[in-house]
Chain length 212, copies 2
């Protein structure tokens, strides 16, 4: 994890040579279109290059790996988190607003769930996200480390919810082997709780950011 070799501080091109026919932004934009339409697995170097009318090998003039492309895609999507709410509301409300925006972002770009979960060096828009969350948490009286952890946990919970929205329901459970499970599944489900997301975020925040 040498920061010097990261995609975020490597220049897009040198000063010599002919003008490049493409750009990082154009490549990333094409990859995002592809991922939105057909999922992250469809984002192959050949497919992205094909969308730009070139060959797979040519992309390596702009990126050093497919992982770089995924990092750039992730950061480009995080730019859609703007604008961030002001700090004039109670901080739990403001954080919940940010979390909701993020959940909508994950719905808009389902591939982000996988792309953002991958270990990677955070790009400028991810850093901006962290920075704004810290700003919203400024009135909270607790150690910085706890704030970091709380932000990371809220972010993670958003991904959990986004993931769960595409999950399959349980079915065909053996009532002998798993009695409690079968019983719970056989009971008619009462009214769905629409506020599950809000409750999760709020209880996590209050639990992790208690003063001390």
């Amino acid at each position: 994890m040498r920061v010097g070799s990261s995609i975020w501080n490597r220049p897009e091109r040198g000063t010599r040579g002919p003008a490049p026919g493409h750009s990082r932004d154009a490549i990333v934009a094409a990859a995002v279109v592809l991922a939105d339409a057909e999922g992250l697995a469809a984002v192959s170097m050949r497919a992205v290059a094909g969308a730009l009318g070139t060959g797979a090998g040519s992309l390596y003039r702009y990126l050093s790996s497919r992982d770089d492309l995924l990092d750039l895609m992730t950061d480009a999507a995080m730019a859609e988190m703007r604008p961030y709410p002001d700090g004039d509301r109670p901080w739990p409300d403001a954080m919940l607003t940010v979390a909701r925006r993020q959940l909508e972002l994950y719905r808009r770009h389902r591939w982000l769930i996988d792309a953002a979960t991958r270990p990677a060096a955070p790009g400028p828009n991810v850093l901006e996200y962290f920075d704004h969350c810290l700003r919203l948490l400024a009135p909270v009286d607790c150690p910085d480390a706890a704030k970091f952890e709380a932000i990371a946990m809220v972010t993670g919970v958003v991904t959990l919810f986004a993931r769960s929205e595409g999950a399959y329901p349980l079915d065909g459970v053996d009532p002998v082997a798993h009695p409690h499970l079968a019983a719970a599944l056989s009971r008619p489900s009462s009214a769905p709780r629409t506020d599950l997301f809000d409750r999760s975020v709020r209880s996590l925040l209050s639990g992790l950011l208690a003063p001390g």
Copy 2:
């Protein structure tokens, strides 16, 4: 998601033909050893077959795809969750114990973080896990749906913690672009909170399982 074609109710072999030289369990065990040592990406059909002294194509006599193998690996690892705690302790303590066991499981098999996150039909040991959690939550007075959601959320938070333990620290943040972030990173971190995991799980449980 036809349950009839799932790996969990397909017989391992028919009645005719010579005795097979391998077994699903042996294949899964070899794959787990490989994943423990070199990660999930190293679990290729060729590598697993090589560890068993055969060819990649031969594995398809026992499994129908690599996804099947990953499903079997996941369920095999979940078997290590046993034994489950009794229901004679307060349910938040019991659930926390289960969550801690799961975190240890994820530390032992880091590949499980990725394998279990993948959408898949739950195997018998995963169903058993759910069943035991529901048993522990039997004294709680709230809808079954809320219990399902709480269990899923606790499970997800465990994966979040397991993932975060392998993350890289932030570094080299521009104090002009991200003032709050740079300030928080420059302040000396106080004593680490060792009870972050417990607090997260407990606050989630209390927030999601409030009576009603």
